[in-house]
Symmetry: C2
Subunit: 346 residues, 2 copies
DNA sequence: CTGTTAGCGCATTCAA
DNA sequence: TTGAATGCGCTAACAG
C-alpha cells in the first residue's frame, strides 16, 4: 500500500510504452481510445499519481502558479485565494500562495529565489505587491509571465485586472451628496496601496462637480484598519463643525467610525451617515449595515488567473463595481451634533 | 540573466566537487569553513537557487508540508495559515495550503493524489478535516506523518494540538451566571465541527453545577455564520419568556445576535447580554464589543507545525484559552423585554 | 498513432 | 573531510 507506482509500472501493466502513458497523462491528442483506456485502467489499479517534481524536472512547464501577496485583510485575501484556486483547479494547476513583506528591502531577492526554486510557470500579484518595483523588475528580468490584480499604477504596462476606484469613490460621494450631505468626511486608505490615491481622487472629483469646496479638516489619513478608522472618527466628531457623513476608504475603517459613533451616542444614520468600501462581510455584520462599494474581488482573481494562462498577450481588463445601498446612510439633520461619551465598562 | 545556474556550475566556479556544494546546501556537518565560504561565494555570484523539484526527486524528503483545510472563516484560516507559515519559514520549509471539501465523497482520493503528487513530508489538518475518516485513513495508509489542529475527537489517537472547548464554554456560561443571568440562550456551532458538541457540553455542565435546569427552548442550532446567529436570535427574542443573555458558539453568530437586537431596539448589554467565542477581529469591531473566548489559534498552528517536524512521537498538547471581557455583558434587568421592530430602509 | 533513448538537477550510495 | 558515479520519475526529441 505504501509503495508508489511509477510511470514504468503503469506502462508494463498496460502493455504499452512509457511514452504512451506520458501522452495520456498530458492529454496529448494522438492517442487511440483503446490505448487510453488500457492506460487509465492500469493507473487506477496501481493507484498511480504522477510526481510533480519529476514532471517539473523533465518538462518545460511545471503546472504551478504562484500567488504573491502582502495584504492583511483576511476577507479580501480569502476571496482572492479562492478565486485563483478555483480557476487553477479547473485547469489542473497547483496554486502556491506566498505571503511576502513589501517593506523588506530584499523582497526582490526573495521573490526571485522562490520563483526559481519552485519553477512556477507564472505569477499572480495582489496589491500592494503589484506596485513593488523590486518585484516587477525581478519578474521581468526572469522573463516570468505575471498578472497584476488591482495595481495602483500603470494598468496598461503589464497584464492586469482592476476596477475603477476613482469612479467608485466618485459614485459613493455623489450618492451622499444626493442624499443632501455637504460636509462629508473622508478617510484615506493605507499609503502602500495606490488605490488609496484613486479613492481620494474620486471623492474630490465628486465634490468639485457638485461645487462643494474641499475642506482639509474633513480628510484624515488611515491605514485600512479598524483602529485608524476610530482615530479619524474621533477627530471628525470633535470638530467645531463636524461632518454629517463620513466616507471611509474601506469597511474596516468604516466599522471603526461606527464604533466611535456608538460610544458617543451619535445615532447612525440619523445624525451621522457612514459609508465603506469593498463590501467585505464586515459591511453586513456591523450595525447599521454599511452602504459600501462592492469590488468584484473574486472575479478579479478569476480573471487574472485566466489572463495568466491565456495567450500571453498584454491584456488589461476593467471589471464593474457596484454601489450597495444599506442602512448606514440617510438624509442629514440640521440639528447640531453634541457629544456625550459613554463610560467604558470593565 | 535568464539562464539558471545549477549545482555543477557552482561547483565548477568554486573549484570543488558537486557533492561539496550539495553538502553546503544541506548544512551537512563535515564541511570545512574554507570550502563553505568558497561555495557560498559562488552561489551568490551565480545567483544560484536549488531546484526544489530536483531535490525532491533525488532525495528522501521534500522540505514541503501541506496544510489541508475546509474552513470558511477567513479570520480563523488566516491565523492558522500565518502560524504554520511562520514556523515553516523559520525551518526552511515550504507550506502548501490546500482547501478541500469534506463533504466530497472522493476526498480520500483527492488527498492521496495531492500528497503523492507533491511529495510532502507531512500534513497539517485543520478542523473539520481533522475528523474526516477518509482523510485520516488515507494518511495512515500512506504512512504519512500528520498533526491535527483542534480535532473534535480522539485527541490522543494521533499527534494533535487543541484547546479545552468544554472548559472554555463552561467558563463563559459561569461568567454569565455569576453576572446574575439565569435564562441563558445558547447557539450551537456547525455540526461538521466536533468542537460544537464540546461547547454545548460546557454550557450544560456550567448550568448543572449552578443548579439551573436545562431548557430546550433556550438552545438553538447554528452554522457558525452570521445568518444562523440572526435566525436563532429571532427565535429567542420572540419567546414568551426570552433569555436575558445569549451565548453563541462563535463570534459570527454572536454578531448576528447583535444585529437582531439592534433591529428590535433591544439595548445591549442593558437588556440583553451577548457572548461570542473565538475572539476573531469581529468581536472588537461590532457594537458593543463582544465578551468572548480567545482561542490561541496562531499558537495552535505554530505548535502543530513544530510537532510535525519533531521526533515523530505521538504527542498531544493542550493550549490555554482566555476569557476576554468586553462590553457586551452586564447584570440582567428584571424588566420584561418588549419588541418594537425597526422598519427596514431601502 | 506508437516506441526508444537521453537527460532535467540534485542526493545518495560508495570509495578515497 | 572530500569526490565520482548512479538514478530518482518523467518529458522531449527523434524515429518507426
Amino acid at each position: 500500500m505504501g509503495e508508489r507506482a511509477n510511470i514504468r509500472d503503469v506502462a508494463a501493466l498496460a502493455g504499452v510504452a512509457v511514452k504512451t502513458v506520458s501522452r495520456v497523462l498530458n492529454d496529448h491528442p494522438y492517442v487511440s481510445t483503446k490505448m487510453r483506456e488500457k492506460v487509465e485502467a492500469a493507473m487506477t489499479e496501481l493507484n498511480f499519481h504522477p510526481s510533480v517534481a519529476a514532471r517539473v524536472l523533465a518538462g518545460t512547464k511545471s503546472g504551478q502558479v504562484a500567488l504573491i501577496y502582502d495584504n492583511h485583510s483576511p476577507h479580501y485575501m480569502h476571496q482572492i485565494m479562492m478565486g485563483c484556486w478555483d480557476r487553477c483547479n479547473a485547469e489542473g494547476l497547483r496554486l502556491i500562495a506566498q505571503p511576502v513583506d513589501v517593506a523588506d528591502p530584499k523582497i526582490g531577492e526573495q521573490v526571485r529565489g522562490m520563483v526559481r526554486e519552485t519553477h512556477v510557470d507564472g505569477v499572480i500579484l495582489s496589491s500592494p505587491v503589484t506596485d513593488c518595483a523590486a518585484v516587477l523588475n525581478t519578474l521581468e528580468a526572469l522573463n516570468m509571465p505575471f498578472v497584476r490584480i488591482s495595481p495602483g499604477t500603470n494598468h496598461a504596462l503589464t497584464s492586469s485586472v482592476f476596477m475603477d476606484d476613482v469612479q467608485a469613490a466618485d459614485d459613493m460621494t455623489t450618492h451622499m451628496i444626493n442624499a443632501g450631505h455637504r460636509r462629508i468626511g473622508f478617510i484615506i486608505g493605507h499609503e502602500n496601496h495606490l488605490a488609496s490615491k484613486d479613492r481620494l481622487s474620486g471623492y474630490c472629483r465628486a465634490l468639485e462637480r457638485a461645487g462643494i469646496a474641499y475642506a482639509a479638516d474633513l480628510v484624515e489619513p488611515g491605514e485600512f484598519d479598524f483602529d485608524s478608522g476610530k482615530a479619524a472618527a474621533e477627530k471628525f466628531l470633535n470638530l467645531p463643525n463636524p461632518p454629517t457623513a463620513i466616507f471611509a476608504s474601506n469597511d474596516d475603517m468604516a466599522s471603526g467610525v461606527l464604533a466611535v459613533a456608538h460610544r458617543y451616542h451619535v445615532p447612525v444614520p440619523e445624525m451621522l451617515s457612514v459609508a465603506g468600501f469593498d463590501d467585505t462581510t464586515l459591511a453586513q455584520v456591523v450595525w447599521p449595515p454599511l452602504t459600501t462599494i462592492r469590488q468584484p474581488v473574486r472575479d478579479l482573481a478569476d480573471t487574472a488567473t485566466q489572463l495568466l494562462l491565456g495567450d500571453g498577450g498584454l491584456e488589461h481588463r476593467r471589471l464593474p463595481h457596484e454601489l450597495i445601498t444599506r442602512e448606514s446612510i440617510a438624509a442629514p439633520r440640521t440639528k447640531m451634533l453634541t457629544l456625550r461619551k459613554k463610560t467604558e465598562n470593565q
